[in-house]
Each structure stands twice: as structure tokens, then as C-alpha cells.
């Protein structure tokens, strides 16, 4: 069994009257257990040059084998120009925009068909080119078959 640990610390000295410091650390486990996740897609780096919406995690079959197994998604916009962003969506529903240097880290349920995760660069990012990194750590990712 692998041990994967995620930590997040949010700090600000001047957001509110007193200093803000919020820390969370958690080992990533299989659903409902204390057994560590053992599979990953690896870290992928893309250089995108169009505003085309892309599936970075694909459209699922009607009854995904990975449904409700635990999975975690990390996506990072590696751009340094603050006007460059990607819109991240799931099943064509916008989650939000990742501006330069922003990331997200979230669980992913693979609940049903069409629950794909998509990214879309904005026009200025696409015209120059934008680097995006992403990975998934999971206990079973469903891929579409060649017939899907």
C-alpha cells in the first residue's frame, strides 16, 4: 500500500484584523477505509495553443466501474502572465477559472456518463501558449472502451 499525503496551509497577515492561518493534512485513502490509494495517472504536462475545450479525464461509460471509488484530481495553471487562465469544468458545468499559478485539488466521483473533466484556455493564453499540469490519484479510474 502506498502512502500519499496532501497538505494545505492558507495564511494571510492582512486579510482580517488578526493573522489567518489554516492548515490541513490528510492521507489519501480508498473510499471508506484507511488503506492508501495505489494508482495514479502520473503527472501530465500540456502546452495548449487553442481555446478548444479538452477532456483531460474522459467521458465515462454509462456505468463506470470506478463509480464512487475515491479519486483526487490536481490541476495547475503554470502560466506566469496573470491574464492567462483556464476554465475547469465537469460535465460542461463550470467549476471555475484557474489564473496563472492557481491550482485546484478536489475529489472526483466518476459518477456516471458524461462526468468528464474539461479545461479550456482563454484566447490570450491560447495565442501565446499555456502550460497546464494535472494528475489523478485513485483506486480505480474508468476509461472509455474503444467502443464508447
Amino acid at each position: 500500500m502506498a502512502t500519499t499525503t496532501a497538505s494545505l496551509t492558507i495564511t494571510s497577515a492582512d486579510l482580517v484584523g488578526d493573522a489567518l492561518s489554516l492548515s490541513s493534512t490528510k492521507e489519501l485513502h480508498k473510499a471508506g477505509t484507511t488503506t492508501g490509494l495505489e494508482q495514479t495517472t502520473g503527472m501530465t504536462t500540456l502546452h495548449l495553443t487553442a481555446t478548444t475545450q479538452l477532456d483531460i479525464f474522459p467521458v465515462l461509460p454509462a456505468t463506470p466501474a470506478g463509480q464512487n471509488k475515491q479519486a483526487w484530481v490536481y490541476i495547475c495553471n503554470k502560466a506566469t502572465d496573470e491574464t492567462f487562465y483556464i476554465t475547469v469544468s465537469i460535465a460542461a458545468t463550470n467549476i471555475g477559472r484557474l489564473y496563472a499559478g492557481d491550482y485546484l485539488f478536489m475529489p472526483y466521483s466518476q459518477i456516471a456518463q458524461k462526468a468528464d473533466i474539461e479545461i479550456t484556455p482563454n484566447a490570450s493564453a491560447a495565442s501565446t501558449g499555456i502550460d497546464v499540469e494535472y494528475t489523478m490519484i485513485h483506486e480505480g479510474l474508468t476509461y472509455p472502451t474503444s467502443g464508447d
Partner: protein
């Protein structure tokens, strides 16, 4: 303007080579280097049923005063329970009405929603939040009717 840093690390011995991710994000307003300067404060809520409830509702003047989707906002959510078998589901969709959920492939209905994932005890997540979309209320649904304690905070402009 404020300076808000969110430092994320992921370390793993998964696979033959393991994995390390380290990223320090400074939360900025959309398309600028100016820091976000508003927040909801850290909210702590205890849920005592398995009903689906809206944690955050979209739109100006509700929780996060994010009027348009060209604004930037970040959402942090944590399950602070300790039983590893218990979780709550986090999703995006229109306001919970108690009516049957419609599949997210349905274009524009009152019950359209999509599940993001499950936060088991101790799990946390951080995502950008397109709070201006009328499909983007954030809902949660506990797996058990005993106390499920949720903490969340929104940073926005």
C-alpha cells in the same frame, strides 16, 4: 489589498518513482496581481440528516458577493469528522428543492446538478468557484444522519 497564500504539498511513494507536488498560490483578483481582499470567514456547520443542502448559493449579495464570473474566488471545504467510513458528497448545481435530481446532461432545469466527489473524514478540497453561474450553488449531502461537521471558507473579490 490583502495577501493570501495557499501552500499545497502532495507527497507519495506511489508507483516506482513516487510523486511530489509543491505549489504556493497567491490568491489574486481575476487577471491581475492584486490580492483577493474578501472572505466569508471560516464557517463551521453540523448537519444531522442525510438531506442534500446548499452550502453556498451563487449570486451577488448572498454569501460570496461575486457578481460576475469574471471575478475570482476560491472555495475551501473540509470534513472534520473522524470516522473513516463517513463522508459527504460535494456537488455543483441549482438550489436544492427536494425534487428529484435531473441528470446534468439536462440543459437548464431547476434540479440540474453534478457531483464532484466525496470528502471522507479529514479530507479537504480547494477549488476556484464560478459563483456567478446559476448552475453553481455548492451542495453537500452527508452519508449519515449523525453529526457531520463541515468547515468551509470562500475567498473572493
Amino acid at each position: 489589498m490583502a495577501t493570501i497564500n495557499a501552500n499545497f504539498t502532495l507527497t507519495s511513494d506511489i508507483g516506482s518513482y513516487g510523486m511530489t507536488v509543491q505549489n504556493d498560490m497567491t490568491m489574486t483578483k481575476a487577471g491581475s496581481t492584486t490580492g483577493l481582499d474578501k472572505a466569508t470567514g471560516l464557517v463551521r456547520k453540523t448537519l444531522t440528516s442525510t438531506n442534500e443542502v446548499d452550502l453556498l448559493t451563487q449570486g451577488a449579495g448572498v454569501v460570496a458577493d461575486v457578481a460576475v464570473d469574471t471575478f475570482s474566488s476560491k472555495l475551501y471545504i473540509k470534513n472534520v469528522n473522524s470516522d473513516s467510513s463517513e463522508y459527504f458528497t460535494v456537488g455543483l448545481g441549482k438550489a436544492s428543492t427536494g425534487a428529484a435530481k435531473e441528470d446534468f446532461s439536462v440543459a437548464d432545469s431547476a434540479e440540474r446538478s453534478v457531483e464532484l466527489g466525496r470528502l471522507y473524514s479529514g479530507d479537504f478540497m480547494i477549488i476556484p468557484w464560478d459563483a456567478a453561474s446559476d448552475e453553481n450553488d455548492v451542495f453537500v449531502k452527508p452519508s449519515v444522519a449523525t453529526n457531520t461537521v463541515i468547515e468551509y471558507m470562500v475567498f473572493f473579490e
